[in-house]
Each structure stands twice: as C-alpha cells, then as structure tokens.
C-alpha cells in the first residue's frame, strides 16, 4: 500500500506535464513551492494502481472527486461501544444535529438491509454502505457482520465500509477480509498514551475496564496493530483523527507519519465538535474546537505524508445520500418497511455510467481552464467559497446553500480544501440579517463566493465584508470557473486596480444538515 503514497510527482514548474497524468487531480499541483506532491484523495486513474482506483473511484469518502457524484449511506445497527471518548455522548439524539455518533433509530440487520435496498433504488448514486456506529461496529460484531453479509448477497454492487475505534480490530481482521469489506476507517487521535489519557477516560478490554494511561496504551497498540494487519491484506484504510486544540493538535503530524508508515491510504483530520448542549465531557468543560485557519494549517502541515482528506462532513451514523446533503429523514424505518422495493442493478449501472460521463466532462473542463495558465506563475493563492448542490457545478443559490465548498486557487489550479456549513439564509422567501453575518463569518477567509444566484442585500453585505460575490459562472464547472475568475483577479492586481491581501480567519460551524423532508 505504501507504494501509492508519493506517486504522481511532477517536475517543478512544468504545468503541462503535471496536468496530463493527473486528470481531475490538479491538487498535486499546488505544492509547487515544496517541489513535491503526493496523490491525495482526489487521485485519479493513472496515478493509482488500477485495482486501487477501482476501489476508490466511486467512494465519496475515499475520493474527493467522487464525493460530488456518488452517495453513501450509513446504517445504525451497532449501538454498543467498548471505549469512551471525551468528545462523544451516546445518550442524546437531536434531530437537528449532524454529528458523528448520533442516530435517530437503531436498526436490526434485517431492517438495515431493507433500508439499503430502498435507498439504493431511490438514490441510484448510492455506492457505499458504511457501518459506523453510533457505538463501535466491532463491539457489536454479530449485528455488523450479519448486516454486511445480507447486503453483499442482496446488492453485490454496493461497496462495504466499516468504521471502528480499533480496540477490537486485530481480532476481526480475518472476518473483515472474508466479508469483502474493502474499506476500513480507524479513528486514531494519538499515538502517545499520555495524550490518549486526556481523550479517553476508559476502555473495556478483556473483560476489564482500564483507565488512564494503561487504557490509552492498550488502545493505541491495538489500533496500530490492526492498521498494519489490514494493510498487509490489501484492505484500504483511512485514518480519522479529531483535532483537539491544546491536546493533540501539534501531535497529529506525528500521527500522520505513524499511520503512513503502517500503510494508511488516507488521513482525515477533522475538527472537534464541541458544544455544552451535546453533553460531552469536552463540551461541558469548555474545550473548544479549532478555527478554520488552524485546521487548514494542520492539514497543510501533513501534506506530503498520507493523502489528506478534506471533504469529510463528519456525518451522522445514519446519514444517507450525497456527502453534505443528507436525506436520512426520508428513510425512517417505518416508511422503509412499507416500501415495495424492487432492486434493479441494471438501472443503477446505467445511471452510474451517466455519472461517469459527467465526471469526465468536469475533468476535461478543468484541464481546459488550467491550460490558460500555461507559462504563467504567481505567488498569490486565494480561497474562494462555492455554493453547490453537487456534480461539480456552481448550481446553488446563495440563500439556499447549506454549506459552501472552499477551494484554494493558485496558478497551479484549484484545489478543494474544505467546506463550511451554514444555516440556510433564505427561509420562506426572506433572508435573516443575523444569519447573514454568521454566513459571512464562516467564509471570511475567502476572497470570493461563487453562486448560481444571489439577492441584492446579501450581495452588498458581502462586498462590504471584502468578499466578491460572483454569479457570472452560474451552472458552470467549479474549477474551470474558479480558474477563470482567478485570471481576471491576477490581471486586476497587475494593473494596480486592486491590491492583493491575505484575508482573516473563519468560523467552523456545525449545524442542521439534516433535511426537513
């Protein structure tokens, strides 16, 4: 697996060379200044060995390119857990909340299968089934593996994906391999037991409760051992880490190296979600999450190690649909059980072929956009925010956006670096002033906001905040448009019409991503 990392190098400055093999993966290009690049999650065919590309190209979490086009679903069959994390509270479920570990209903394996078939039929972009709790799937091995086996039989075209804290992992590696699970996510927040003791109050292992450093040491050892065992068997591993300021923030660079050396395919550093009303230890003792700038700085510091994942939405354990656009509430189990589902793999296949064609068009478009830069170099990089409903297009109204996707643009191309959740500004036809200012705060580090449409009031407010609202690329491809806009920006800077300046920090917000329907 290690061979994957570090491929896709290109020669400094030779844009042409870089664009050819990377297809939709201009991301590699952004490390011009360091002169080296690793393939990130968006890596496209041509850089990755074919069999790995096959595994990731339709997985919205493993391939950043795929997350615009394909959908995943989680089923909550595994409520028990064998460790306690200070950022988790399994006691409360709030319908308005989107955070990992939270679910509205727990399913039996049989109910889960019916739900998978219903969702895959109604949302044909669904390519991945994940079991991610709300507890630890491997603390509920019977329910977890039974669900996977039933799904594998009923819908063999769906990829199976498992997310675990790793404590029980070494015991189940063989079962995982046998169950045709191709993707495993392990949450590893630290490799230092002293730090671990601040994150995990206890673990339950070998019929005993362990606390403090002993607990953290056992957990760390088991996680790393499990990761190694999976890599040896060729199962793709993603490592999730929660960035907790003052506890593990600097240390995560070490974690990145450690998991890379053990074959992790992707590293996903997520911000701590912490609010008093969540009732978690961190929420109650005032532990803050990181700012957008701190998170991005850490992710940047880890570039060049394991591929960085930047599009994670930390979705609920019962999330359904495209990443960032949850449709879970359409599929509550009472409704699902009443549905008459006819699962048709042919229909799904035809649909997904269409999606692939769309994707290829997007790749071609951004390549075209990049070609305009050939020979041009600039030190300037800016962030822009995009209102999108998916498919890689600027196709959402400012007032309807539930999140903005953030791209970093330079003369090497546009690279996806994150997303910002917001509360929908326009509700029932009128916008709310308060919300507008929080939306502006959440994209305050961006120079421009790309939208399909925007009203007069938010437009002038954005301009006043120093952010350019851009609606002239409505319904066009994000990256191509961003590059075109950047060209004109650079020209204006050259002509002295505007002065380039870095912008400030922005807020990371967690909000209602759960659709009301």
């Amino acid at each position: 697996m290690n061979a994957v990392v570090g491929r896709g190098r290109y020669v400094e400055g030779s844009l042409d060379k870089m664009m050819r093999p990377t297809a939709e993966h201009r991301g590699c290009g952004t490390s011009v200044n360091t002169g080296q690049a690793s393939c990130r999650s968006r890596a496209a065919h041509g850089e990755l060995p074919a069999e790995i590309w096959e595994k990731v190209k339709k997985h919205p979490c493993y391939s950043e390119g795929a997350h615009h086009h394909y959908a995943r679903m989680h089923v909550a069959v595994a409520p028990a857990c064998n460790i306690q994390c200070n950022y988790c509270n399994r006691k409360y479920d709030c319908a308005n909340e989107s955070r990992p570990g939270v679910v509205s209903e727990k399913l039996t394996p049989e109910q889960a299968v019916k739900k998978v078939l219903a969702v895959a039929t109604i949302i044909p972009q669904t390519t991945v089934l994940g079991i991610a709790g709300p507890g630890d799937p491997l603390a509920n091995p019977e329910k977890t593996f039974k669900t996977f086996d039933l799904v594998a039989k009923a819908a063999p075209d769906i990829k199976l994906c498992l997310s675990t804290n790793g404590l029980a992992l070494p015991d189940y590696v063989n079962t995982i391999a046998k169950s045709k699970i191709e993707h495993v996510t392990i949450t590893i927040n630290t490799i230092d037991p002293e730090i671990g003791a601040k994150i995990y109050p206890w673990i339950f292992f070998n019929h005993r409760r362990y606390v403090g450093i002993d607990a953290a040491r056992i957990l760390t050892d088991r996680q790393l051992q499990g990761l190694e065992m999976l890599s040896e068997r060729g199962i793709l591993c993603k490592v999730n880490s929660v960035m907790i300021p003052h506890i593990n923030d600097h240390h995560l660079v070490e974690v990145n190296k450690a998991v890379k050396s053990r074959g992790a395919f992707l590293h996903n550093i997520m911000p701590l979600i912490s609010a008093p009303e969540h009732g978690t230890v961190f929420g109650l003792n005032g532990q803050r999450g990181p700012t957008a700038q701190a998170l991005k700085a850490l992710q940047d510091a880890c570039e060049g190690g394991v591929n960085m994942m930047r599009h994670c939405r930390q979705c609920r354990a019962d999330a359904v649909g495209l990443v960032g656009a949850d449709r879970g509430s359409e599929f509550n189990i009472d409704r699902v059980m009443k549905m008459d589902v006819k699962y048709d793999p042919e229909m799904r296949k035809a649909y997904q072929e269409k999606v692939e064609a769309e994707r290829a068009a997007k790749v071609a478009a951004s390549r075209e956009g990049l070609a305009e830069f050939a020979g041009e170099m600039s030190e300037i990089t800016v962030l822009v925010a995009v209102a999108t409903k998916g498919s890689g297009l600027i196709n959402e109204h400012f007032g309807h956006a539930k999140e903005f996707q953030v791209y970093e643009i330079s003369t090497s191309g546009a690279k996806f670096v994150g997303h910002r959740r917001v509360d929908v500004y326009c509700q029932g036809g009128y916008g709310e002033g308060d919300r507008l200012s929080t939306i502006i705060r959440s994209v305050n580090d961006c120079h421009a906001v790309f939208v399909a449409k925007i009203g007069g009031c938010p437009k002038s407010n954005l301009i006043r905040a120093g952010i350019e609202p851009v609606d002239r690329y409505a319904h066009e491809f994000i990256e191509k448009s961003a590059i075109a806009w950047f060209r004109s920006y650079l020209e204006k800077v050259k002509r002295g019409e505007i002065q380039h300046a870095q912008r400030g920090d922005a807020d990371i917000r967690y909000g209602s991503l759960i659709s009301a329907g």
């Binding site: 409520p79 028990a80 857990c81 064998n82 399994r90 006691k91 509920n140 019977e142 019929h207 409760r209």
Partner: protein, 74 residues
C-alpha cells in the same frame, strides 16, 4: 445482591447484554433488564461485574440492595 439497571439512565446501547456470563440481561421492546435470579454478580467468572464495566453511563448498572447477596457456590 444482584445487579439491576436503572431504566431512566439506560441508553439501550446493548453493550452489557452479550457480556453477561449468565445470560441474565435481556431486551424487550428496547428496554434492558437484569433477571435477579440469574445474576451472580459475575463472581467466579470475572474480576468485575461485566455489565458495570461495560456500561457507558456510570451509575446505571447498580447493586439491588433490596435483594439478598448472591452466594458463590463453594
């Protein structure tokens, strides 16, 4: 004294159920209960009562003082 589950605190997570060496814990309609006659406080099996050690909500699996102590077979 067998253990009991304080229903108002239980999250119905099911962590305790498969761990009980005596199959004393069962679920019905999403509620978990311990059958007092079957609970041995884990004596002779494990160092700690398994339901207590595994339960994520402290103070949910507790000793039921209204019932007599379990006598471990000698």
């Amino acid at each position: 004294m067998p253990f009991k589950i304080i229903a108002s605190q239980c999250t119905s997570c099911s962590a305790c159920e498969p761990l009980c060496p005596n199959v004393a814990i069962s679920e019905s309609a999403g509620r978990f209960v311990i059958e007092p006659a079957k609970c041995t406080e884990c004596i002779g099996h494990f160092d700690e009562p398994q339901c207590v050690a595994a339960c994520p909500v402290d103070g949910t699996c507790v000793i039921d003082t209204s019932l007599p102590r379990y006598q471990a077979p000698s």
